[in-house]
């Protein structure tokens, strides 16, 4: 098993000096001007110290200079260096390095935040990744809890043997930093990545069910939704993998980052905009709006799916038209035990508030309170 290592040397700079992130060169300059000190290299080194101690001689392909190898010197690792390229100090560095590593590594370990995760995903979709948390924003599911847990996780994976460690799919989220600086939390889904699961080594006591395949359960729940609607019902779906199970259940490929419209018989619109959806709803007697939940924050409307406009929701029938799909794991991990809506219309948000049933598996729902953001 060979690891790729990419360090975003400027990740996290913004946080220490009161900026909300470090996306873009201007912010980096500003952060440095305010006296921020780079942390990501040291944090990455800490993770690899643990790995090297536990599994000496692990094969690693590292980025050049500050983007990798500089932070690994003296550790008991078998380090190869990616041919040097001039660093620009932007996300393009990450993207180029990761793209160059593709095919040579089994897992990319990056040190950074959500922005770095997006860059890694963009450069190598499908490549398993693990984030060493160094950013200001870390809403994506790819991050280990801390640099040391990242190191131990890597050690456990290598000890368990290549190839057979299980992967789970997580969402790559990011927040629009400009909006965040203006006081709005607007997480968006940028895609899905696979991360290695921490090998669960032992306890299956007392006959408890083991960790279940959450997405498989959702796929079956999606089949129930499909089976329960009439042939001319319009389903407005998305974005995200969970909601997209409904599109998959009908035999189509969901637009992961956009909103699709279908009936049980036909795919009506892919990656539809608000105007399209408004027009479709106007022509349909029954509409269901199938939504996922954003990780941690728990948004169902108004974050990354503004296409599902307040008018569309009202026309569909409001709260009663919502079908929400989420894994139990995701619901359990919400920062607050509720779901949020922000449709841009306060009255609608108010009328959407209250308890809904979120589908978590076949024949299985969880009550969740919707609140106006």
């Amino acid at each position: 098993m060979r690891l790729g290592v990419v360090i975003n040397p400027v990740a996290g700079l913004g946080g220490a000096v009161g900026l909300k992130g470090t996306d873009g060169r201007d912010i980096v300059t500003e952060a440095l001007r305010r006296g921020a000190e780079p942390q990501s290299g040291l944090r990455a080194r800490h993770a690899f110290e643990i790995l090297a101690r536990a599994c000496p001689g692990v094969s690693v392909l590292a980025g050049p200079g500050q983007a990798g190898v500089d932070w690994l010197t003296g550790l008991d690792l078998d380090v190869q260096i990616l041919p040097a390229q001039p660093l620009l100090g932007t996300g393009a560095d990450t993207r180029e390095m990761v793209a160059a590593m593709r095919g040579q590594i089994d897992l990319i370990v990056f040190a950074g935040g959500d922005g770095t995760a997006r860059d890694v995903l963009a450069a190598a979709p499908g490549l398993p990744m693990l984030g060493i948390p160094c950013g200001v924003k870390m809403h994506s599911g790819v991050f280990a809890l801390s640099p040391s847990t990242a190191g131990h996780l890597l050690a456990d994976l290598l000890a368990a043997g290549a190839g057979r460690s299980s992967l789970s799919e997580v969402e790559i989220m990011d927040i629009d930093e400009a909006a965040l600086r203006a006081g709005h939390i607007a997480p968006r889904l940028y895609g899905v990545a696979s991360v290695p699961s921490r090998p669960r080594r032992m306890q299956a006591a007392k006959g408890q069910p083991g960790p279940r395949d959450d997405q498989a359960a959702l796929a079956l729940a999606a089949q129930e939704i499909v089976a329960g609607v009439s042939s001319d019902t319009l389903l407005i779906v998305g974005p995200g993998r969970s909601a997209g199970q409904v599109i998959s259940a009908l035999g189509h490929v969901p637009t992961l980052l956009g909103v699709d419209a279908v009936t049980p018989g036909a795919l009506i619109a892919q990656d539809a905009c608000a105007e399209t959806l408004k027009a479709l709803v106007a022509q349909t007697s029954e509409t269901r709006i199938v939504l996922g939940v954003t990780g941690q924050q728990g948004f169902v409307l108004g974050r990354g799916n503004q296409q599902i406009h307040a008018d569309v929701i009202r026309a569909a029938g409001g709260r009663g038209a919502l079908e929400i799909l989420a894994t139990r794991t995701k619901l359990a991990a919400l920062a607050q035990p509720c779901l949020w809506v922000d449709t841009g219309c306060a009255a609608l948000d108010q009328s959407l508030s209250g308890y809904v049933r979120v589908r978590t598996g076949p024949g299985e729902t969880q009550m969740m309170r919707i609140r106006a953001a």
Partner: protein
């Protein structure tokens, strides 16, 4: 809150002053303070009305034995009851091992800390697998009926079909459990239980009726060998072939003690095999010794449908060393299967250890000797009983350890006969007159426990009471 004057042998902190010391360390002023979460009006109003405390071991033992000795045992009486709980010899070493406090413990432990128990579990599965000639054996579930119920639900998930064929002569006790597992007809995942007729001449499954009822909606065919009434299905491979031909699973129930002399179900096409574990070294315990095993071939599609614990051998981090852990534990992932979601919990795993010791003691020769002895004694009993005027043995010489005895021509009911036998210290066979449309019938069970002299004594006594 309780007064606390004298220490109790089962509670270290019942020693006077112990609670008060802890309260002081916590900084609580009273026990009541620690129940602050419970609103006042939730506390019970009715005082506890329990019989007086028996804190001394002597008093407790006296009470238990005083009651238990009112029972009449199968040691002091000659017993011919079977039908789901059978009287077999339990070797003393089995009792010693299952009584070990390390095994009878409350705790679960880990693969390493409770390694010995896990190995014993693996050896249960391994030895039973050798008898069945199957590679996967799950730790036992609550009972044979429950094992059949799970197996049928496995078949439903495997095939996506919702009908199961069972033999007409099915133990009503087990059949009731099967119906429970198959859900009432109002429910979406209900499994329809359809009976296949028995051939009246043999008691075996009527192959014509089986073929008529097999179809593309049948998930599984279930049959037992030997069956509830003791009869042996002499052509089981034909049944499994017919089931396979229409895409159904073959589920078989076997008595493990028959497997020294009877063909292993793995050799006649069984897909999923169930059976009782009580015969494998567990006392009858008034029915509280039952458990049921489930086994299959080592094919992933079957393995992924098990509901409980599959113990696999595995290497440890120390070179050349073995340990044991749970395989495919994730398959329990409840909620991820299309049909139904079985559950697991505390089961009857101590009896897996009993079974491991029992099978280890018997070995291949023990099973052969035992099976032959049971067959010989049961057939001897049939001959003796069949000779009694008015008494008739059904399907004589085609059974294993149980057989049906008809008393119609004695003019007496089974209930009357059994009353008379009981007065003579014999527990007659189970009265199945209300189950079969075969008149006054009893199901007799003869095992290695019954000497030829015992059987002659039964015959002589029956002759007397049937007059």
């Amino acid at each position: 809150m309780a007064l606390n004057n004298t220490g109790h042998p089962w509670m270290a902190l019942s020693a006077p002053g112990a609670i008060e010391d802890m309260l002081a360390e916590i900084g609580a002023s009273s026990v009541k303070d620690l129940f602050a979460q419970i609103p006042e009006d939730h506390f019970r109003k009715a005082p506890l009305d329990l019989p007086p405390q028996l804190a001394s071991e002597m008093a407790l033992k006296q009470d238990l034995l005083g009651k238990l000795k009112k029972n009449h045992t199968c040691e002091d009486n000659l017993n011919f009851l079977g039908a789901g709980v059978w009287q077999h010899h339990v070797p003393a070493v089995v009792d010693e091992i299952v009584g070990r406090t390390e095994f009878a413990t409350n705790v679960w432990g880990s693969y390493q800390s409770d390694h010995g128990r896990n190995q014993a579990w693996f050896e249960f599965s391994s030895q039973l697998g050798a008898l069945l000639k199957l590679d996967v054996v799950q730790l036992p579930v609550y009972s044979w009926g429950c094992a059949i119920g799970h197996a049928i639900r496995m078949a439903q998930r495997l095939t996506g079909r919702s009908r199961v064929l069972v033999p007409q002569y099915c133990d009503p006790e087990r059949l009731s459990v099967i119906h429970t597992y198959c859900q009432p007809s109002e429910m979406e995942n209900h499994i329809e239980v359809v009976e296949v007729k028995a051939d009246p001449a043999t008691g075996q499954i009527d192959m014509g009726d089986l073929r008529d009822k097999l179809g593309p909606n049948v998930a599984a065919v279930y049959f037992e060998n030997p069956a509830y009434l003791g009869t042996i299905e002499t052509n089981p491979a034909d049944i499994s072939a017919a089931a396979r031909a229409c895409g159904a699973e073959t589920i078989v129930g076997v008595d493990p003690l028959s497997l020294g002399v009877m063909m292993a179900p793995g050799d006649y096409g069984a897909d999923i095999v169930t059976g009782p574990v009580q015969p494998l070294g567990v006392h009858m315990n008034c029915g509280g010794g039952v458990g049921g095993f489930i086994a299959s071939r080592d094919e992933e599609r079957y393995v992924r449908e098990y509901n409980g614990f599959l113990v696999s051998i595995a290497q440890t981090q120390r070179e050349g060393e073995f340990g044991f852990g749970l395989a495919a534990a994730h398959q329990n992932s409840y909620g991820s299967r299309e049909h139904g979601k079985d559950w697991t919990g505390n089961s009857t795993y101590l009896w897996a250890i009993a079974g491991a010791v029992y099978m280890g003691l018997l070995g291949p020769e023990g099973f052969r000797e035992l099976g032959q002895l049971i067959l010989s004694r049961a057939r001897y009993a049939q001959a003796l009983l069949d000779d009694i005027p008015g008494v008739r043995v059904l399907w004589r010489d085609t059974t294993f350890k149980e057989f049906v005895v008809n008393f119609d021509d004695t003019g007496k009911t089974v209930a009357e006969i059994n009353d008379a036998l009981r007065a003579r210290r014999i527990f007659g066979g189970k009265d199945i007159s209300h189950e079969l449309e075969q008149g006054q019938c009893a199901l007799y069970c003869v095992t290695e426990m019954h000497s030829a002299a015992d059987l002659r004594h039964l015959a002589a006594t029956l002759t007397e009471v049937c007059k």
